[in-house]
Every structure is written in structure tokens, then in C-alpha cells.
């Protein structure tokens, strides 16, 4: 084989870029692009989207490398595709793998730093400690202000959500002070006498001052500064309650006390292989999961077998050249394949609708009975196989008739000479040769059906539901629709971590089948030779 030498490529590339102007334009564009990416990166980092920032950064470096280094010239042809694939396919996959090792999900949706920040913001009113004498003022609009005097005699003015100040007479509307050092008037406010102030129900609930230094009324005579309720001890990886002294240790992504009290919110925490061990060992899950996996394989296998058989049968029966109406028959038979599956699945859902749907009404008329397609698990499974047959036999019909035509007539002529009958010819010539040709397509089709989410989700959402399962599961659920419910339905709590772990399991299953396919068909070898 004559392959093009990279040297030649770079040389011809070199000739093209001899002139300086295109080169300058290229660098200017690259520089502008880098500046834009830099800006986006800084925003991502500000917002705390570190993983995405890393991904974008790596891709930007890759693009620069490809555009600046002559040696990797071939990559320039595919750089757009690779970048899009990296960002929108590979990054989500890597993210999913990471999530499968975490407890990401309901109650664990934010990072540890964010959770600690939220918890550290909480305050409490100490029962003892530094105190102020207070006098309350109230405006006609119902706003309050406090005049505070500490033990040293310093006076302060505190209003909600405003910094606490130390005004002199005349500043901030503060009027003359009386003999206790309390202003007689504050502009816009009216001084409350002791009885009014003590009986005011709102007053003891209001926090005066800004975040960082907040003061609240503690007793009729004292007001005190609120203190942070929790302190984070990074050595212990624990929150310590300053009021009660209780230690809340980090337990799988949530700070918990020894008595089981939890500090909300929890946060995302790496939990090792827990999701995977749960998948394989949890007794509550094992029941439904084993059933789902069994049905998943049965569904994919039976679909393939039934659909391929019918497709092959049709292809053989009508394969004969000169068969009347051949073209018309084929056109009518491929119709199910030509309409978006989503629409036809919905149509089937309507047709099989108990009582109302046409099929059930017809069967009721003829036999006085119709199958409970949606409430009985076996009939639901039969319905799904039936719909899938309808959806995909045309595909097998097409690929089989294509491959049948490529089988040489000589084989059959030789077989006839040997006295083989039609049946023997089918088993010993047609089928083996056909399987070689369409084998890879059959495996792809198995993989496709293994993850045929649309059919299950649109037809009956995996129903009828199984009883007594820890998370929602249905009798016709396959792994992928089960995962979808775990991650998105949220009726009993979303669990991205566990959903991602099952994703990885599915990936391993499907990936193994694919690698087997390569081995089986020698596709890798073809890659190596053919070119």
C-alpha cells in the first residue's frame, strides 16, 4: 500500500504558508480565541465550576498544540470534531465515572466548601458573655433601632442589616442625650418606654447589625452579640457546636453527631466503591435488580431473535427475482421503519389501551377477552416485544435481502448437484454465509436493544411497578430506564451517584460485547491492514 508520507504533507503545507500574511492572520485569530477562552475560564473559576474549567483548559491547550505544531498536521483536519467530542461526549463520561464514586444526589448536591460556608454562617445567642444595656426605638413604619451601651460606657446605634455605628449627638439624626446617655429622640423613630419595649413581641426576634457582627435582645435588660454556632475543626474533619459542645463528624458527606443528629446540608463526598458494592450486594436492591437484569438480557436477546427471524423469513420468501409486486411489497413493509419511533410507539400505546384502544376493542368483540397489556407483567413484556418486532423487522429485512443477493448462485448450484434440499441449503449455505455478513450488525442491534430506552420509557415507563422495592422499579424496566428513574424521577429521592455506578456497569457489559464483536469479526485487523 502506498501511504502518504507525513514529510510530504508538511512540505506542501510549508509551501502554502510561505507568504507571511495568512500566518499573521492565523496567529491573530488564535490569540483572539485564546483571549476569549481565558475570559470564560476566569468566569468559570469565579463561579466555582472547577471541573468544567479544567476540561475547557485542556481542550484549549490541545487546540493550540495542534494549530502550532507542524508535526501533528493531520490532527488539524479533525480538531473541531475532536474538541466537540471532548467537551460534549468525553467530559460527561469522565464526570459520570467520577460521580459513580461519590454520594452525589438528594441531600448531597453541593461541594464540601459550600456546605461548610453555609453551616459556619449560622449563629446563636450566648446565654452569658459580653452584654449591652439596650433601649428600643421604633419608627411609624414599624422599623426598629437599638441604642446600646456596653460595660465601658461606649454607646452604639444598631439597625437591622446596617453596620453598627457610634454616632455623636447630631449625627444620624441622634438628638440630645439624657442623663443615662440615651438619646431622647432619633429622627424618624420614637423611643419606646421599658414596658412597651419588653412587651413588644417582635423585638427579641430581630437581629440588629450586619452579618459579621449581629446583636439580639437577650433579656429585658441585656442585649448580646450573636456568636457563630459552629466551628470547623479541619484536623477532626468535624463541626463543633459552640453552644452545646456537640461534635459533628463528617460521616459520608454529612456532619453527624454521635447520636445520629445531622447538620444539613450534606455535601458531595467520595465514598469509594460503595455504590458498586451496593449494586452487587444490597439485599433490598438485589431482588428487583436481578429481575431487571434478567429481563434486560431476555428482552435484547428475544428482540434480536424474533426480529431477525421475521426479517430473514421475509427476505428469503420474496427474494426471488421477478416476484410479482416485489417493489411494492417491500415499500409497504418498510413503512414502520420510516416513521420516527417515538410517534409510532405512542400510537401503539393508544392502540393497546385497555378498553379504549382498537386492538382491545376488537379482541373483546371477537373473543370477549383482551389481554391486560399494562397491568400484567407478562402481557406488558409481550406487548413490548410485539412493538419492537413491528419497529425493527424492516431493518433486518433490508439488510438480509441485501446480503442474500451477494451470496453467489454457484453455491446453490453445487448443492443441488449434491442433492441437498431447500432446508439443507438454508442451514448449510444461506444462514452461515448470511451470519458472516450481517454478524456485526446483529451485535450492534443487540447493544442497541440492550439500551432501548425510548421504547420502554414511552410505551409504559417500565410498568407495571414492582411491589416493595427501595427505589421505583417496574417489571418491564431495563437497566437504563431504571437508571433514568433513579437520576431524574426523584419520586423517592434522586441518587446520581448510584445511577452513575449502574451506568458504568452497563458500559462494561456493552463494552465487553463490543470488544467481543471486534475479535469475532476481525475488525481491528481490518483497521491495521486496510489502508
Amino acid at each position: 500500500m502506498t501511504s502518504i508520507d507525513p514529510e510530504i504533507i508538511t512540505e506542501s503545507q510549508g509551501k502554502k504558508t510561505d507568504s507571511v500574511l495568512p500566518k499573521i492572520i492565523r496567529y491573530v485569530l488564535l490569540f483572539a480565541g485564546n483571549a476569549a477562552v481565558g475570559y470564560i475560564l476566569s468566569r468559570f473559576i469565579n463561579l466555582g465550576y472547577y471541573t468544567l474549567a479544567i476540561a475547557v483548559f485542556i481542550l484549549a491547550v490541545f487546540v493550540n498544540f495542534v494549530l502550532l505544531v507542524k508535526k501533528v498536521y493531520p490532527l488539524r483536519w479533525m480538531v473541531i470534531g475532536l474538541v466537540l467530542m471532548g467537551l460534549f461526549t468525553i467530559y460527561p463520561i469522565i464526570f459520570t465515572i467520577w460521580v459513580s464514586f461519590t454520594n452525589y444526589g438528594e441531600g448531597h448536591l453541593i461541594t464540601k466548601e459550600q456546605a461548610i460556608d453555609q453551616i459556619l454562617d449560622r449563629t446563636y445567642l450566648p446565654e452569658t458573655g459580653k452584654a449591652y444595656q439596650w433601649t428600643a426605638f421604633k419608627s411609624p413604619e414599624g422599623d426598629y433601632a437599638l441604642w446600646l451601651i456596653d460595660a465601658e460606657g461606649n454607646a452604639y446605634l444598631a439597625k437591622p442589616e446596617e453596620p453598627i455605628s457610634q454616632p455623636q449627638t447630631g449625627e444620624e439624626g441622634v438628638g440630645e442625650l439624657d442623663e443615662d446617655g440615651i438619646p431622647v429622640t432619633i429622627e424618624g423613630y420614637q423611643r419606646l418606654n421599658v414596658i412597651l419595649a419588653v412587651s413588644d413581641k417582635n423585638l427579641s426576634k430581630i437581629q440588629f447589625g450586619e452579618e459579621g457582627k449581629t446583636i439580639q435582645v437577650r433579656t429585658p435588660s441585656e442585649a448580646a452579640e450573636l456568636l457563630p454556632k459552629y466551628v470547623f475543626d479541619s484536623d477532626l474533619d468535624a463541626m463543633i457546636d459552640q453552644e452545646t459542645g456537640v461534635v459533628y463528624r463528617n460521616l459520608r458527606g454529612v456532619f453527624s453527631s454521635s447520636t445520629g443528629q445531622e447538620l444539613k446540608p450534606g455535601f458531595i463526598e467520595t465514598i469509594g466503591l460503595s455504590n458498586f458494592t451496593r449494586f452487587f450486594t444490597s439485599p433490598a436492591l438485589r431482588g428487583p435488580l436481578i429481575r431487571i437484569i434478567t429481563w434486560n438480557f431476555a428482552f435484547a436477546f428475544l428482540s434480536l431473535l424474533i426480529n431477525f427471524s421475521l426479517g430473514l423469513l421475509i427476505a428469503i420468501i420474496f427474494n426471488e427475482p421477478g416476484f410479482p409486486f416485489k417493489k411494492l411489497i417491500r415499500s409497504l413493509l418498510i413503512i414502520p421503519y420510516t416513521i420516527p419511533a417515538l410517534l409510532t410507539i405512542l400510537v401503539w400505546r393508544g392502540m393497546l389501551n385497555p378498553e379504549l384502544g382498537i386492538i382491545d376493542r376488537l379482541l373483546e368483540n371477537w373473543f370477549g377477552w383482551a389481554p391486560p397489556w399494562f397491568t400484567n407483567q407478562w402481557w406488558a413484556k409481550a406487548a413490548i416485544l410485539l412493538i419492537n418486532l413491528w419497529l425493527s423487522y424492516p431493518y433486518f429485512m433490508l439488510i438480509c435481502s441485501g446480503s442474500l443477493q451477494s451470496i453467489s448462485d454457484d453455491y446453490y448450484a453445487a448443492a443441488k448437484v449434491d442433492g441437498a434440499n431447500g432446508w439443507q441449503q438454508f442451514w448449510h449455505i444461506t444462514l452461515p454465509l448470511l451470519l458472516v455478513a450481517v454478524g456485526p450488525l446483529l451485535i450492534s442491534s443487540f447493544v442497541f436493544n440492550f439500551n432501548n430506552f425510548n421504547l420502554i420509557y414511552i410505551f409504559n415507563g417500565g410498568g407495571p411497578p414492582m411491589a416493595n422495592t427501595p427505589t421505583p422499579a417496574g417489571h418491564t424496566d431495563i437497566l437504563i430506564s431504571y437508571v433514568y428513574n433513579l437520576a431524574f424521577s426523584g419520586s423517592r429521592g434522586i441518587d446520581y451517584g448510584f445511577a452513575s455506578a449502574i451506568t458504568i456497569v452497563i458500559f462494561v457489559i456493552v463494552g465487553t460485547i463490543t470488544l467481543f464483536q471486534f475479535r469475532f469479526t476481525g475488525m481491528w485487523e481490518e483497521v491495521s491492514e486496510n489502508v
Binding site: I4, P6, I8, I9, S12, Q13, K15, I40, F44, L47, P74, M78, I80, G81, L82, L84, M85, T89, I90, Y91, P92, I93, F95, T96, I317, F325, S331, I334, I335, T338, I339, P340, L343, T344, L346, V347, W348, R349, G350, N353, L356, I358, W390, L398, G402, S403, V438, P440, L441, V447, N451, I480, A487, F488, T503, F507, V510, G511, E526, V527
Partner: protein
């Protein structure tokens, strides 16, 4: 004499048997055709049945009319034309862009020899096996984060949907495209190169025109695939006027399936028929495109 008649008898019995077998096969064909087009006929019947509900529908409606279509197209509640337009726009853009990206990349894979080439091809194939549906959570989060910085690739934007479709294009199409490009003899490139053409010129002036028929077929297959895609669009698009036709019809069907069956059927017909017609007209080409590339690997 007797010899003659035996031959004749044999001949006529053979032709009789052949005719019988054709007749039986035609009868079988009729059954299969009924199975295959019954749902379609039923949708048509539902669409022209003025009573409009699932329970009252008969296969041959008593007084057919276009009421359902009128309701579908005029009621402001479900902006059918907007959905239809969104679907056509998204599918067309995705189809053209993904074809351009993958054809150019496939040319490099087919013609250049560089380090890591085989590894990349294998890697792309394995990545394509990963069910994208499953990375949906991650995709969703990523798009919402992007949206905070670059609004037009955020949630509920067609741009982000198109970009995600394009991200999957390399995986699904590169092997197919490379397969076709490998069938174009390399001598063409070499003779052009001797005459001083560079790779880009060879690709655009020589290779692309040769590939044109198959490119059109792949563009149509891509178009149909994107047009029917549902789950990504369902998760990323949030508002009524941004929905694609598939999302809109699925949501509509979920909400008022039984009562407004006729309206749904009308929508499904308008949405499904164009694709069906394209398919039937181009069936030989599309079938060829689906199988040859795939069988070759």
C-alpha cells in the same frame, strides 16, 4: 407419445406448483402488510375522525373531516408550527455541520499516516458505545454551567442541543465515512499531488465530488436521526416555544392522550409523513448507505 405427455405433465405440475407458491406467498405478504401498515391506517383514521377521542374511534370514520387538523394548527395552546420549525431547523443544521466535520476528519484518517491513528480510531469507537443517555446528568449540569457564562449555550437553547448532537457525530459517523473514503482509490490523490495540488485542494476538488451521492444519503440519514431524537431535547429544552416536534408531541400525548387522540394523530401524521415520503422515494439509496458502510465496518 407417453414420453411427451410425462414431460408436459411434469412441466405443467412444476408451473402449477410455482404458481401456488407465489399465491401463498402473496397471501402471506398481505398479512404482513396489514401488520405493517395497520397502525398507520389507524392514525390516519383517527386524524380524520371528528369525534376525536380514543374510545369513539372506528377504523372507517362515519363522517370524516379535517376538524382535528384545524384544532391542531389554530389552537394557541400547542404551537405546532413552531415545534415543527424547530425540529426542521435543528435537524438541518446538525446534519450539515456534522457531515462537514466528520468528512474532513475521516479524510485525514483515511489518507494520512500519523502516530496514534489506530488508537484514536479504536478509542472513538469505544466512546461511541458509551450510552450517551447515561451521561445525561453530567451533560445537563455542564450545559447549565455553560449557560451561566455564555447564555446562548445554556439550558433551553437550541444551540446547546445542536452542539451536543455534534459532539456525538464523530463517534457515530467517522467509521462509516472512513469506510467510504477508503473505497476511493488513492491513485487519484497521488497523481494530483504530483501535479502540485495540496491536500485541501485534493479533498475539495477531487474527493468531495466523487463522494457527493453518498454524502447526500448520509446527510438524510443524519437528518432523520436527529429529527426523531427525543430524550436529550426533552431534558434540555424547557419552554413550550423551544420544544422540538417530538418533545412537544410526547408531552401533549402525556397530558391529554385519551380525549384528544384525534389531535395527536393529526400532529403525528404531519410530523411523520415527510420523513416517510423521503424514505420511500430514496429507499434504495438509503438502504445502500445503511448497509454497505456498516457491513464493511
Amino acid at each position: 407419445m407417453s414420453n411427451m405427455s410425462t414431460v408436459q405433465r411434469l412441466r405443467s405440475s412444476a408451473s402449477f406448483r410455482y404458481k401456488l407458491s407465489v399465491a401463498l406467498r402473496l397471501i402471506l405478504a398481505i398479512f404482513l402488510i396489514i401488520f405493517s401498515i395497520f397502525p398507520i391506517l389507524w392514525v390516519i383514521s383517527a386524524a380524520i375522525n371528528p369525534t376525536g377521542s380514543l374510545a369513539t374511534q372506528k377504523l372507517i370514520p362515519s363522517n370524516p373531516g379535517l376538524d382535528n387538523f384545524r384544532e391542531l394548527l389554530t389552537s394557541g395552546e400547542f404551537p405546532f408550527w413552531t415545534w415543527f420549525g424547530n425540529s426542521i431547523k435543528i435537524s438541518a443544521i446538525t446534519s450539515v455541520l456534522s457531515l462537514s466535520i466528520t468528512t474532513i476528519a475521516a479524510y485525514a484518517f483515511s489518507r494520512f499516516r500519523f502516530r496514534g491513528r489506530k488508537t484514536m480510531l479504536k478509542g472513538i469507537f469505544l466512546i461511541q458505545v458509551f450510552p450517551t443517555l447515561l451521561a445525561l446528568v453530567a451533560t445537563f449540569l455542564m450545559i447549565s454551567q455553560f449557560g451561566d457564562v455564555i447564555p446562548f449555550i445554556g439550558l433551553n437553547q437550541h444551540t446547546s442541543l445542536i452542539l451536543i448532537y455534534l459532539g456525538g457525530a464523530m463517534g457515530t459517523n467517522i467509521w462509516l465515512m472512513k469506510g467510504y473514503l477508503d473505497t476511493v482509490p488513492r491513485d487519484i490523490d497521488e497523481s494530483a499531488m504530483v501535479e502540485g495540488a495540496n491536500n485541501w485542494q485534493i479533498f475539495t476538488k477531487l474527493i468531495l465530488p466523487l463522494l457527493k451521492p453518498i454524502l447526500i444519503v448520509i446527510a438524510i440519514i443524519n437528518y432523520i436521526g436527529t429529527y426523531g431524537e427525543f430524550i436529550l431535547a426533552r431534558v434540555l429544552l424547557k419552554s413550550n416555544e423551544k420544544y422540538t416536534l417530538m418533545v412537544g408531541l410526547q408531552i401533549f400525548a402525556g397530558a391529554q392522550f385519551d380525549q384528544r387522540w384525534g389531535v395527536f394523530a393529526a400532529g403525528a401524521l404531519i410530523g411523520g409523513l415527510p420523513i416517510m415520503i423521503i424514505y420511500l422515494i430514496l429507499q434504495d439509496k438509503i438502504v445502500g448507505g445503511l448497509t454497505t458502510g456498516a457491513v464493511k465496518g
